[in-house]
């Protein structure tokens, strides 16, 4: 388990780090490669989205290519991007509530291989507990009381990472969840301006809390829009610019996962990955990385490998949410 003294950042240290950031209104558009420099080896990296939705695939792709090391990665629920983390070795420690490719493909053989062999850690928290850890971090409080996770093996296995507290008003026993302020958050959105004001359509998952909690935010976006268009509908902005350090325009930046209203998951690609990692998970995921992560010379090269047919099909299904 994580050393207790580093589990929750002391408030003054959290503020010191935040005060150091350049939070002024300024343009911060850059390439995936440039944005990757905001992630240091050993960082705690939180991923936006959930399961196969708005996964920051392109940014993870860039971090794998940049050969980052010893990242601790947290997310509400992990899908195939978790297999990529383990397989590439950029992280052997994930914190999540559920980790497999997706229900329809059964239990992930890659996750099983790395965790059962002891090569990698998978710290399990309840879904809401992860959300409330980010939320406490976003709110600037060191813990959040909760009525869940109590009495379970999940709780027990977390040891001193959670504590019992007593409500001073009702004397009820609650669990205190430690605030989580990630070093970096990777979040993919439908649109953002050059300053980092982001709009999210559809499901928001834990992204807003993650952005507020993190010490740096790398935003990838399907589209960069003008600040003017953001200012016309300020009640549609979900992430304010001053939390954001990098903005990267990456069309299809969540593929093979979905981006609400833009494209659905690339199911055939996911089928192939599941099939390819079934027999020899390690060789299967390495080959996948060779083909899709190390092989292409650019993100467009990656999309080429997905193929125009699949892109068009995923897009048609994605846009269909607005058809009626």
């Amino acid at each position: 388990m994580m050393a207790e003294e580093t589990l929750v950042l002391p408030h003054l240290e959290l503020r010191r780090r935040t005060a150091e950031r350049d939070r002024g209104l300024r343009e911060k558009v850059m390439s995936l490669e440039e944005a990757a420099s905001f992630v240091s080896d050993g960082d705690h990296v939180a991923l936006g989205g959930c399961t196969m939705s708005r996964t920051p695939t392109a940014m993870i792709w860039a971090l794998v290519r940049a050969k980052k090391k010893n990242l601790v990665v947290s997310r509400s629920i992990m899908s195939s991007e978790g297999e990529v983390l383990y397989g590439s070795g950029i992280s052997n420690h994930v914190i999540t509530s559920w980790f497999s490719q997706g229900i329809v493909w059964g239990v992930s053989k890659v996750m099983r291989h790395y965790t059962e062999s002891g090569e990698a850690r998978f710290d399990e928290w309840s879904h809401m507990s992860i959300g409330l850890r980010y939320r406490a971090g976003a709110m600037g409080i060191p813990y959040m009381p909760v009525r869940s996770m109590i009495g379970s093996g999940v709780n027990e296995r977390l040891g001193d990472e959670v504590k019992e507290v007593i409500c001073p008003f009702t004397d009820e026993r609650l669990l205190a969840l430690p605030a989580l302020n990630p070093d970096v958050a990777l979040i993919h959105v439908q649109r953002a301006d050059a300053y980092g004001n982001a709009q999210l359509d559809g499901l928001q998952f834990m992204d807003i809390d993650i952005a507020m909690a993190a010490n740096r935010v790398i935003l990838t976006t399907e589209q960069i829009v003008s600040n003017d268009s953001i200012r016309r509908r300020p009640d549609h902005t979900r992430i304010p610019f001053f939390t954001v350090d990098a903005v990267v325009e990456v069309p299809y930046g969540s593929a093979p996962h979905e981006c609400y209203g833009v494209y659905e998951p690339f199911f055939d690609h996911m089928d192939t990955l599941a099939e390819q990692t079934k027999k020899d998970p390690e060789a299967g995921i390495k080959k996948y990385l060779d083909d899709f992560y190390y092989g292409p010379s650019s993100w467009s090269g990656y999309l080429d490998l997905l193929g125009a047919d699949a892109i068009v099909d995923a897009s048609r299904r994605g846009r269909s949410i607005y058809n009626d």
Partner: protein, 256 residues
């Protein structure tokens, strides 16, 4: 289950689960059988039933043939009344707005504890399973219905690991641990409908499905289970129930 039936075990599960749901209830559902059952209930007897997904969806309607692959994709939001952040939809459980949590189970024990984390010793597991997802929160915070296949390896005396708490060690141990609300309500299998004793919190048989012999339940349960002499009998799935179900899942992704 030796007779020929005009439905699969999964269809039986979905139909029997759907019947337990009541009109007007707010149901936190997982994908697969729970979603099918809740949608079936809406179509048959509970038009005012509301489905919630842990991805952050309130009151969607599933498009037949477009069952979502998990509770976190846009297909889950079709014709929804509201979408909201994950943490907030889960907090509705903690606030007490949800009547029923409804999910599948990989392994359950006599006190209704569910395991979806580890087979074997968690320190060196034989199998690492995907984990809790929303299951722990749902089972900690509301009344639960679980739908699962009735097999000996799934119905064990004591789970290897409590992922989603039922009644823990039985008796008052759930409340004593600090879980003051919620608890297991029903387990629906392809053989029977199961409930929990008011005092001991041990699992017992409430009703057997058509053609199921009490011994079949005993043989497929990994612990001594009470089957009262006056145990109930469920009615077989009706035509209209099966018709609605098959329309929802024409490719039999979840009802093969």
């Amino acid at each position: 289950m030796t007779e020929r039936k005009n439905y699969t075990a999964s269809e039986l599960l979905a139909v029997m689960s759907a019947r337990i749901l009541k009109d007007g209830q707010i149901v936190f559902a997982g994908v697969g059988i729970p979603l099918l059952a809740a949608t079936l209930a809406q179509g048959v007897h509970a038009p005012g039933l509301t489905i919630l997904f842990e991805g952050g969806v309130i009151g969607p309607f599933v498009v037949p043939g477009e069952l979502p692959p998990s509770t976190n994709e846009q297909r889950c939001t079709r014709r929804a009344n509201m979408v909201l952040p994950i943490t907030d939809v889960l907090l509705l459980l903690q606030r007490g707005y949800i009547d029923v949590g409804f999910m599948g189970g990989a392994q359950i024990d006599r006190y209704g504890n569910l395991n979806s984390s580890y087979i074997g010793d968690p320190e060196k597991p034989a199998i690492r399973l995907p984990g809790t997802g929303g299951g722990n929160d749902i089972s900690s915070l509301t009344q639960m219905i679980v739908a699962m296949k009735h097999e000996k390896r799934r119905f064990v005396n004591k789970v290897d690991f409590i992922t989603s708490p039922g009644f823990i060690d039985g008796g008052s141990s759930r409340a004593d641990s600090g879980l003051i609300a919620g608890g297991m309500f029903r387990v629906v299998t392809d053989l029977a409908i199961l409930a929990f004793d008011d005092d001991t919190k041990e699992m017992k048989v409430l009703a057997l499905h058509p053609g199921v012999d009490p011994d079949e339940v005993r043989d497929n349960t990994g612990f001594d289970i009470t089957i009262p002499d006056n145990v109930g009998r469920t009615d077989p799935p009706q035509k209209n129930e099966l018709a609605v179900l098959r329309n929802l899942d024409p490719e039999r992704l979840y009802t093969a």
